[in-house]
């Protein structure tokens, strides 16, 4: 199994001279089996270029897993060329929207409504199917399986575990470690702590020992202090999680929108020093890089 980062940016695309190295496109990862079968994780702006490449060798069959439906994870979908061409087969998987009581089919339909986009979803020519996932569900694609686990974010947000060619890859989507809203000494502290511990253990069990661990690490520790509850991890939390789960190679992604290449380089250098000897093998995810599991 191999994979290519098509977009590593969080929140909003950030093109420009200061983001050339790590990339400005939002969340999208292309995953390929050894035989070339295609799984796409997230449909951020990074999916556009993938679509252009795929269009050179149609018909296309692809399985597209959306971690959650915040803009930075879906915004490239209406520009994913294979969806416009008859003969292509696209299956879109993702979480439900429990508040509007709709499934993942609403994700495209809503962003392609008249005031937002000139083409309606009904005009897409490819054979598109939607499969709304539930927590813990495992999808068998024949060449691979993909399992979903509910993470912690201000929306229904799934982490995905891809098992393919004897290797495992986990992608967190967006995630902030579960934490206690009470202070020690509060009446409900212990009860809340019990559930927090249980939830953290549940997701840990889900990705323990995977070969590839791709995780949200949007903030520095200082930023996290201000942005607790926003649904993202800081670098240290992501690495701590990776260490505890005994995973293989770690890719830190969902780079903060405002972060420049120089700043990311500096953070990487600092973390390498601070975490040397920790046993955690990590890099910062770079758009365009291809890796083999």
């Amino acid at each position: 199994m191999r994979f290519k980062f098509r977009g590593t940016r969080g929140s909003l695309a950030a093109p420009g001279a200061s983001t050339v190295k790590y990339g400005g496109n939002t969340s999208c990862i292309e995953v390929r089996s050894d035989a070339g079968d295609l799984i796409v994780l997230d449909g951020g702006t990074g999916i556009r270029e993938l679509g252009l490449e795929l269009a050179r060798a149609m018909p296309v069959a692809c399985h597209l897993f959306i971690s959650h439906t915040h803009w930075d994870h879906i915004q490239g979908l209406p520009f994913f060329i294979p969806m416009f061409v008859p003969g292509n087969k696209v299956t879109i998987y993702g979480p439900p929207d429990p508040l509007n009581m709709t499934g993942i089919e609403a994700v495209l339909a809503k962003q392609m409504e008249y005031p937002h986009f000139p083409v309606r979803v009904a005009e897409l020519q490819a054979d598109i199917t939607y499969k709304t996932l539930s927590d813990g569900q495992r999808v068998d694609l024949g060449f691979a399986t993909v399992s979903a686990v509910l993470m912690n974010h201000p929306a229904m947000d799934f982490g995905f575990k891809v098992e393919c060619d004897g290797k495992t890859l986990f992608f967190s989507g967006d995630h902030e470690p579960f934490y206690n809203i009470y202070e020690p000494g509060d009446e409900d502290y212990d009860d809340y702590e019990r559930v927090v511990t249980e939830r953290n253990a549940m997701i840990m069990d889900f990705f323990r020992g995977v070969d590839v661990f791709i995780i949200d690490a949007q903030y520095t520790e200082d930023e996290y202090r201000i942005k607790r509850g926003w649904g993202h991890s800081c670098f240290e939390q992501a690495l701590t999680l990776a260490q505890a789960a005994g995973v293989g190679k770690v890719y830190l992604t969902h780079h903060e929108t405002t972060r420049t290449d120089d700043q990311l380089d500096a953070i990487h250098a600092r973390l390498q020093k601070e975490w040397s000897g920790s046993g955690v093998d990590f890099v910062l995810a770079r758009e365009g890089d291809v890796h083999t599991a």
């Binding site: 439900p96 429990p98 508040l99 509007n100 009581m101 709304t132 996932l133 539930s134 927590d135 813990g136 569900q137 509910l150 912690n152 974010h153 201000p154 929306a155 229904m156 579960f178 809203i181 009470y182 409900d188 009860d191 809340y192 559930v195 927090v196 939830r199 509850g229 649904g231």
Partner: protein, 286 residues
């Protein structure tokens, strides 16, 4: 007259207490800096609300892998934002008592109340009220017709008579109420607001929502009045009659728009009411 008053007070006394949690949730949910702990605490104190949230969270719409058994549990699972939105939807449903009410189509009543609530909030926002106040505007719209519930529940025979008069004579509902019961739903609603210790602005809005001219033109009353006419004109549910009254001068001057102008300023009304409506269904699921 004394008799009418005694009857009204008697009916109001029979109404159940207003869930305080509902008001608090409406306030918290409109605060971008709302603390998760505050929200969780409010919900926990109300066992009925707690039960409704757990029922919703454990429904197929969420597709969770384990049963969520407490509000702490739901809070960890869903996080603040999702919990806040769930609570907001359910809070609206919790504000009005349920059950079979003679002579009143509850579904239609609900829809009308929600549409007026949503439109009142939108109008308030157009006039620049704060987020905090916007929640009060929503509550005022939601509860403006609550007096009808008191009539229908506890003076049901007379109220059925009112319904017949409206139908036969095409008379506005509040006039028919006045002629048969000696008081309007606005008046009895105001008595109920007193019993519930609702903020005085809210009580005022309920009392004066058919007579904004006599109200020294408070902004909230004007908004509820306009929202009521808008919801009737767009036939969101039913308020018991369909007579749309012209906007009084004070209201027109406040917005510098007529009713059609106001409607065109709120393109999201339909969608927001529809969302609220889905929650009604869920709140009633057993």
């Amino acid at each position: 007259m004394r008799n009418v008053r005694t009857n009204l007070v008697g009916a109001v006394e029979k109404m159940p207490a207003f869930p305080k949690s509902v008001h608090q949730v409406l306030k918290l949910a409109s605060d971008i800096n709302c603390s998760q702990k505050d929200l969780v605490e409010v919900i926990k104190k109300d066992p009925v609300f707690t039960l409704k949230i757990l029922r919703l969270v454990n429904s197929a719409y969420f597709g969770l892998s384990r049963e969520v058994t407490s509000i702490n549990h739901a809070s960890v699972y869903l996080g603040l934002n999702t919990l806040k939105n769930v609570a907001l939807g359910l809070a609206a449903v919790g504000a009005i008592p349920k059950g079979n009410v003679a002579g009143l189509d509850l579904g239609a009543f609900w829809l009308h109340s929600l549409a007026v609530a949503t439109a009142t909030r939108l109008l308030g926002t157009m006039l620049g009220v704060s987020r905090d106040e916007a929640a009060d505007y929503f509550a005022a719209g939601l509860l403006h017709d609550i007096g009808k519930i008191v009539f229908a529940l506890y003076m049901s025979e007379e109220y059925a008579e009112v319904g017949r008069l409206v139908e036969k004579e095409g008379m506005p509902l509040h006039q028919a109420e006045q002629s048969i019961l000696g008081a309007t739903h606005a008046e009895i609603g105001a008595l109920l607001a007193e019993k519930w210790n609702l903020p005085s602005d809210l009580g005022n809005a309920i009392a004066l929502h058919h007579t904004p001219d006599g109200s020294e033109g408070t902004q909230l009353v004007d908004c509820v009045f306009a929202a009521d006419q808008i919801s009737k004109k767009l036939t969101f549910g039913s308020a018991g009659d369909y007579s749309v009254e012209p906007l009084p001068r004070s209201v027109r001057e406040r917005f510098s728009l007529d009713i059609d102008g106001l409607i065109s300023e709120m393109p999201t009304l339909d969608e927001e009411v529809e969302r609220a409506r889905v929650f009604i269904k869920l709140g009633e699921t057993h």
